[in-house]
């Protein structure tokens, strides 16, 4: 079994898991990782990492303003808004 710290993983993913679910996901995540770990058996000595499968160059655009959406559109899915801001539970620094 791989070492999965399900508490840490769920914290990072902002998921609240009860104990049953935590045990279940810990097990299935470990299995996934074990499966992926098979790749480590391949000898990659001297092979450079590939960052994208296509190996093409990045498409770029010129520095121009083309598209912005209206404030109404941007806020239309917000659960809460006020004076054209998104309103969220207090995040304290």
């Amino acid at each position: 079994m791989s070492d999965i710290n399900i508490k840490k993983v769920s914290y990072l993913a902002k998921l609240a898991l009860n104990d049953d679910k935590a045990a279940l996901y810990e097990k299935s995540l470990s299995e996934i990782i074990e499966w992926v770990d098979n790749l480590k058996k391949i000898d990659t000595e001297g092979v450079k990492p590939l960052h994208n499968i296509t190996e093409k160059n990045q498409n770029m655009r010129n520095d121009e303003v083309l598209k912005k959406n209206s404030t109404e559109e941007i806020l239309s899915n917000a659960p809460e808004k006020a004076q054209n801001f998104f309103r969220v539970p207090k995040v304290v620094e």
């Binding site: 010129n62 912005k68 404030t71």
Partner: protein, 478 residues
Amino acid sequence: MDNNWELVMGLEVHAQLKTESKLFSSSPNQFGSDPNSNVNFIDAGMPGMLPVMNFGCIEKAIKTGFALNFQINPYSVFERKNYFYADLPQGYQISQFEFPILSEGHIEIENDNVLKKIRIERAHLEQDAGKSIHDIDPKYSFIDLNRVGTPLLEIVSYPDFNSADEVINYISSLRQILMYIDVCDGNMQEGSLRVDVNLSVKKPNEELGTRCEIKNMNSFKFIRQAIDYESKRQIEVLESGGKIEQNTLLFDTSTGETRPMRSKEFAHDYRYFPDPDLLPVHLTEEQIEKVRPTIGELPQQKLNKYINDFKLEKDVAKIIISEKSYAYFFENLISSKSIKPKLAASWLVGDIFSFIKEKNLQIKDIDNSSNKIIQLLEMIESGTISSKVAKDILVEVLQNNKEPSQLVKELGLEQVSDNDELEKIVDDALKDEEDNIMKFQSGSDRVLGYFVGKCLKATKGKGNPKVINELLLKKLNK
């Protein structure tokens, strides 16, 4: 507290790039707009929206590469830095990690007339986050996404700083260079340049101590205060037998103290990985070299030119290069071949600056008077008016945008250089002055100044001092 502690600091400077549009979306990169008005669906992290790289940002990064002596990497990769925060709708920041666009640069800073090389480890492109407002409501925070996706260049130095002065000098040099090459507007108040300071203390010859990172400062004053406070705090902890805990701190500008950031209580695990929405950036030699000629003159080059070619005093030259706008204003003045750089420089840092300061203006506010100022300086150079008269005219020019030649005529201020006319005045001045004439002839130079002053007074300041001087010497040496 003994003084035998050494400070070791490294800096991360986040410079917002001066572009029209954002790093991965074509919405406007603009400060000060209404909330959530410069946002498109890419910035808002809507599902299915794909980032498209802005080549303008790559060009600005390359420019910075040349100006800060970086190695410009032909291959760089964008990765996702994963964390949750209300002003980061994507749930990750697109940044560069293992393969930044720039590596191993350096600049020189001057500290008490000693040059020090500051090594810069890397600089990478990344997206800025939105803005959270915490202080309007006790229960809620308010989020404005206008800043989301604004291009940032994060410039990461090596831990080469040992004092707050060095840090300040570095940031001001960096800011100056970025403004000269038109990469960043340098407006610290608006957050265009934000600084994280990594700070630790140690005894000489000891290993590096545990460091703390003070995040997100945007004023020289606060950076200095934060460094002073945090270094004292660490020394006190160590001297009382404690240990420094590695921590991310905020500088509280109201108390002047540093304190741990609550959101960073748990060590972050950003789980960087190459962003599958973006392909690696390959730059050709040709693309890179094409940017080189666009850099223009760097502040250090201008400084050398001003001192060596224009023969300006070092202090004066430094004031003029300190802001790009000053240097360009100055160079515009001396575009007139009849104006000597020294004269233009002394008027600029003297009367022109005092006027601006007094009226709370900026150099750009008087830009449209520059042709008139040129006219005025030309009249001084040709001896048409005296410096004294020019001072008064300058104020009129700057305040009411009047034509200097017109003013001179209107007020009858034209300088008197006519030999015959001035000879009479000189003769008058020397009347009944046998004592002083004797003094001069027995070697007292100061008397000459007295006579010149007397003549100038008689001409109401309009007499040409050079001609008066010559006439006086001629008569006195008889």
